[in-house]
Each structure stands twice: as C-alpha cells, then as structure tokens.
Amino acid sequence: MTQESQVIQHESAHPTPGTYFKVAMALSAITAIEVAVFYLEFVRHAIIPILVLLSGAKFILVCMYYMHLKFDDRIFSTMFVAGLVTASGVVMALMALFRFFA
C-alpha cells in the first residue's frame, strides 16, 4: 500500500465539503434517533428492525460518500461487497446453527 502501485483510476467527480457536511449531519441525526428510539416505550417490539434499518443507512452513507464507493469503479464495490456478504452470511448461518433465533 505504498508508492509502488501506480494503480487505480478513480478521478471522477468527488463530492464537495458541503456534501460531506450534510452527510455528517445525517449521520448524527440518525444516531440521535437510534438512541431516542431506544428510550421510547411504545416501539419496543419493533425496536430491532428499526435499529437494523437505521444503522444500515449509516453504513451505506459512509461507504457511498466518505469512502467514495459511489464514484469509483465497480470492481472496488465488488471486492468489498463480497467480503461483506460472505461475512454476514457466515454470521447468520452460525447464529442459526446455534439456535439463536429459536
């Protein structure tokens, strides 16, 4: 990961600092909602799907904008998603095997 690689051609439009700031605001807002939801009594039974969705949104925001996957070659996304999908698949399978959902 040093200067040896004259690699990678990701010179497309990068977002502006303004966009970065908006994304940061969105991330903070989602975190605030998460913590708020957590203290709300009436959503108790739906809390897990809600939290999964909200943190999934944060995850995607960071990947797309801060890690500029949105603006990069498809091959980078493929690499990363391969790892992500395999990891989540293995986690889910292991949980099922240990009867976590039963």
């Binding site: 990961m1 040093t2 690689s5 790892g83 292991l94 099922a96 095997l97």
Partner: protein
C-alpha cells in the same frame, strides 16, 4: 521523499546470497518459494513415512504414541500450510506476471515480505520439535484437546502463533496478486482473455483473503483462552467447543479449494498445450471455478455431521455438498473434451495432468460418498477419509504441482529436464500413490480408525497396512527420481529455447530464463491464447478491448532491491517467539514489534527507485 531516514545504502548485489536476500524480482521469489516449500514437503513426507513404517505391521513400537500424535499433526499442518500452499504460491509468483504481460507484481517488496514471513513461520513451527515437543492435537486443533488443562506444553502455542505468522504471509501474497491481476494486465487482456491459471490464482487469492481472517480470529480466541484464562472454549463457564469446529471449518473448507484450484489451473494450462487444441469451454471452466469458490462457503458443516447438528442443518449441508460436485464435474468433462481428438504429445507434464484427472476423479467420487450424512456417519474418522483426502490432495494437488514443475522447468531454468526420467518419475509416482492410498479405502470400510498409533493382529488390518507401507516406500523412491532429474537437469540439461512446447500463453514469448524485466515491450493482447494467435498470424482480426493497464513508458525501470521486507519479517518472527512463551517474554514480543515498526517505516520512506 528524496532524503531517506534510516539512510542505509541500497543493496546492489547482482549475484550471491545477498542478491537473494534483498531480491524483489518475482521470478527469484518464485524460485525461493518453490525450493523452500519442496524442502518442507520432503520433511512432511518423511513424517508420513515414519508413520507408515510404524503402522506396517500390528503392535509395532518404533515410535511412541506421543511422538505419533505429533507426527500426524505436524504432517497435516506441514503439508497444507508449508508445502501445497507455498508450492502454489511459487507458481503464482513465477508465472502470473509473465502470463498477464507485466514486468513484476504490483507490490514487489510486499512480495518479498510474504516469502520471508512464510519462511519465518515455517521455522517457528518446526522449531517446536526441539523446544518441548510439537503440537499434537491434530491439524484441526479441536477444543478441548487444545486447552491448557489437556495440553500444558507449548506445542499448541507454537502451532497457534506460527499459523498466524503464515496467515500474514498468505494474506499479503493474496492482496498482492489480486491487485496485480486487476491492475497490471497487458493492454487488451480483458478478464475473459486471461489464461486459466491466472483466473484460478485470482479466485484462490479472493478465497484466501476471505477465509484467513476467520482462522485468525479462532486462533486469537484460543490463544486468549490459553494465555489469559478467557472462556471462549471453556465448557465450565458455558463455552462451546463446537464453536471452534465451526470457525475452523468455515475457514477449513474454503482452504480445501485454496489448495486445489491452483492445481486445476495448472492442469488447464498443460492439457491444451499438449493436445494442440484450445481449452474446451473456457468460459464454463472459469465460471465453474467461481461457483466452486462461492459454494465452498456453504458446505463447511459436512466436516461435522457426527457432531449432532440436528436434522435440518445436516440435510442442508448434505445437499450443498452434493451440489458442489456439479461444477467440479463440469471441469472434468471440459478437460476430457479438450483432449478429445487432440493431437496428443505424451510428454511428462501431460502424463501428470492426465494422472491428476484420473486420481482426482476417484477422490471426488469417494467425496460424494461421504457427502451423504448417513454414510458419513460410518466413515467419519476412519481410513476411508484418509484415502479420500489423499486422492484429492496428493493425487490432485501434488501430482498437478509436479506436472507444473516439469511444464515450466525449461522456462524457469533455461534448460530441458530429462524426458525419459520424467516419464519414469510419473509412472513410479502413479503406482506408488495408488499402492499407498487405495488400500486405505478397504481399511476404512473395515473400521480402522484414523490417528491410532498401532493395532492388534486379530483386527485383520495387517495385510493392507503392509501394502500401504510398501507403497509409501515406492512413493518416496519417485521423489528421489524427481530430485535427481531436477538437480542434474538444472546443472547440465540441454539448453531450452524460449518456447519448447509451442505454448499458448505469453510466458513462452520470451527467452528462457526470462530477462529480469520480462517484456522488452509490453505486448498487446488480441486473443485468448495470445501467443498462439500471434505465432499463427491471427493478430489483426480484433481490436484490443478495455481492461488491463500496461505502462506506456519505453525505458525500463525495474524497482530496486530492498533490505526492509526481510527486516519486517524478522521482527514478526521475534514477536512470535515472545508470544509463544508469553509472561515476561511479552517484552521480547514488544521488541519484535519494534523491529517490525522500524522496518515498516523505513520501507514506506524508501523510494521504489533511488533518484538518478
């Protein structure tokens, strides 16, 4: 970055020991990998031979049960991590840049680091023989056999730490080859024009990158249990040894494909060359490789059918395991269709490739037999399984690797091997291999368990054990023939020209051995079998399509040698010793990390080339 901290003059040794220690040339590193891994292969083979001699007849007492446990554990670990994987890595190193039309890999110094770290891990693991006994819990290291209560010695710690070190080496190499294959292909070489061996390397590297972290975590957890008294696999505090089995096989099954896919790639190079036909169904073979790699993640629990996972998981894993035989079968039929009607030239590499198909198919069929959970319940932990894995790993991986060595020998050394001895080598190996491992099917079905150090005469296992040991001696002989052929041919073989086989791929387009810079001019690729197309004047019917990014420049700058990769590796190994002995030895580990850090910084600040 013109002024360099830690300013030590750059190594400038064109020949001699230092030229090898500081080399970052992928071809030299490939040779280092190959020779080292072969030496370790011989060590692993001698361990196996000792076991076979012990088992030659009933109630023998040549090695003690304690030593026997260490022998089979080290045999498995050595063959998988120190022999087959690095032998494949030797081919990746030597062949891949040549096949894709590049002057080197993407990160040449990282490549050197991979090799030295691999060597360090191998030394670390084998030093345990002399430092209180090697690991003895099986290559899978099942909990709770590995707990401090069961296993107070430090053999297990050596095993844990050296596998971590080897993991670092493999991961570094895998990243390197992924980047190399994605970024350094010659102009015009789209993904679907890549040679099959490059494809299989690419898939293997991706598997490595995804599989190794899992074993890393499992080993960290085990290490924490042993060193800090944590609870991961401690039943008394609610831990579950089955979790170790799951984590191990989540890694372990993709690992099986890490071992076999490069061999499949080698065979897919040899067959078309000697049949004088392009590979039948190229895209199907590539796709089958990718599907095998993908499905390799969905079958791991078939190693654990007898654990009692419950009917649903068992049924699911039975089905996925049977399904994974389909892409494998597709490959075998494609290879057969490749040689069908070809004008065959029965040279030694072709014999090995054909041997691979036959033996691997036998191993595949016995594999389907224990894919069936009910039948596996009978075969689990018997010699039937030993027969199966050796048909796929020896008959598959090793036979293909030996064939690959013969195939690329002229390119690597610039000399021809002795064809007659090469053929003799194949037949002795083929007979020996079947003599050792085929009787194990009978022994297994007859109920002989694995990993026992002896058996009684009235069990009825004596005959086939005797035959098997005889076969092991024949197999040993075949490797003596191999060594003789390689050594004498390397010294005084006939000079080989650049293209002795009428090859199809780019590595045959240059002199043998290749010049340091590989390609005087980066070639442009118009076709799948690029070198055939060029030789036969079919080059101008196509336009280069996108993909690949060869350098434009015409003056050749090769990266200069460097000391730092080996420094970082040495730091890592010192840290490893510190971790094995833990306690106050953590200071040693810290010292090792410090050396490694210095190496990393010096490495990052060292320009690829000194300013002229």
């Amino acid at each position: 970055m013109t002024t360099v901290p830690f300013a030590i003059p750059r190594p400038t040794h064109p020949t001699g020991v230092w030229s090898w220690i500081t080399t970052i040339d992928h071809k030299k590193i490939g040779v280092l990998y190959g020779v080292t891994a072969f030496v370790l292969f011989i060590i692993g083979g001698l361990e196996a031979l000792l076991m076979r001699i012990q088992l030659a007849g009933p109630n023998q007492d040549i090695v003690s049960p304690e030593v026997f446990n260490q022998l089979f554990t080290m045999h498995g670990t050595t063959m998988i991590f120190l022999a087959v994987m690095p032998l494949s890595a030797a081919f990746f190193n030597f062949v891949i840049p040549l096949q894709i039309g590049a002057r080197d890999v993407a990160f040449p110094r990282l490549n050197a680091f991979s090799y030295w770290t691999f060597l360090g891990g191998a030394i670390l693991l084998n030093s345990s023989w002399f430092l209180g006994g090697a690991t003895n819990a099986g290559w899978f290291g099942y909990a709770p056999l590995t707990s401090t209560a069961q296993n107070p010695g430090n053999g297990i710690d050596f095993w844990i730490i050296s596998l971590q070190v080897l993991g670092v080496a493999s991961l570094a190499a895998a990243f390197n080859f992924i980047v190399t294959i994605v970024n350094m292909r010659a102009p015009g070489m789209s993904f679907m024009r890549m040679p099959l061996f490059t494809w299989m390397t690419f898939i293997t590297a991706i598997l490595l990158v995804l599989a190794f972290p899992v074993i890393t975590v499992a080993l960290i957890e085990l290490y924490f249990d042993r060193t800090f008294g944590m609870n991961f696999f401690n039943v008394a505090t609610g831990g579950d040894p089955v979790l170790w089995q799951h984590l191990f096989w989540v890694f372990g099954h993709p690992e099986v494909y890490i071992l076999i896919l490069p061999a499949m790639g080698i065979v897919s190079e040899i067959l078309p060359t000697f049949a004088k036909k392009p590979l039948f169904g190229y895209s199907t073979v590539v796709l089958a490789g990718a599907i095998i790699a993908f499905m390799g993640w969905m079958v791991w629990s078939h190693h654990m059918f007898t654990v009692g996972l419950g009917p649903i998981p068992t049924a699911v894993f039975t089905l996925t395991t049977m399904a994974i035989a389909v892409p494998t079968g597709i490959k075998i039929f494609n290879w057969m269709a490749t040689i069908w009607g070809g004008s065959m030239e029965y040279k030694a590499p072709l014999l090995f490739a054909l041997g691979f198909i036959a033996l691997f198919t036998i191993g595949g069929i016995s594999g389907i037999m224990h894919a069936m959970a009910s039948s596996d319940a009978q075969q689990q932990d018997t010699y039937f399984i030993v027969a199966h894995i050796h048909y796929v790993l020896f008959g598959g991986a090793i036979v293909a690797v030996v064939g690959g060595i013969y195939y690329w020998f002229p390119k690597i050394t610039g000399r021809m091997y002795n064809e007659a001895i090469g053929k003799l080598n194949f037949w002795v190996m083929f007979v020996g291999m079947n003599l050792v491992f085929f009787p194990m099917h009978f022994l297994g079905l007859d109920g002989m368990p694995r990993r026992i150090y002896t058996y009684d005469a009235n069990m009825g296992w004596s005959l086939w054990n005797g035959v098997s040991t005889l076969g092991a001696l024949v197999l040993g002989l075949s490797f003596l023939i191999f060594i003789y052929n390689i050594v004498t041919s390397w010294r005084n073989g006939e000079a080989a020209d650049g293209d002795p086989w009428d090859g199809r791929t780019l590595e045959w387009s240059m002199s043998s051995p290749p010049p340091e810079y590989n390609f005087a001019e980066i070639p442009t690729v118009y076709d799948r079998d690029a070198w055939w197309a060029e030789k036969r004047g079919q080059v101008h019917h196509g336009v280069p399509v996108g993909g690949g990014s060869g350098e434009e420049e015409h003056s050749i700058h090769m990266p200069q040698p460097s000391y730092w990769p080996i420094v970082v590796s040495i730091g890592l190994v010192i840290a490893g010793f510190g971790l094995v002995y833990h306690g106050t030895y953590f200071a040693v580990a810290a010292f090792g990390v410090l050396i490694g850090m210095i190496g990393v910084y010096a490495w990052s600040f060292e320009p690829v080339n000194d300013p002229e």
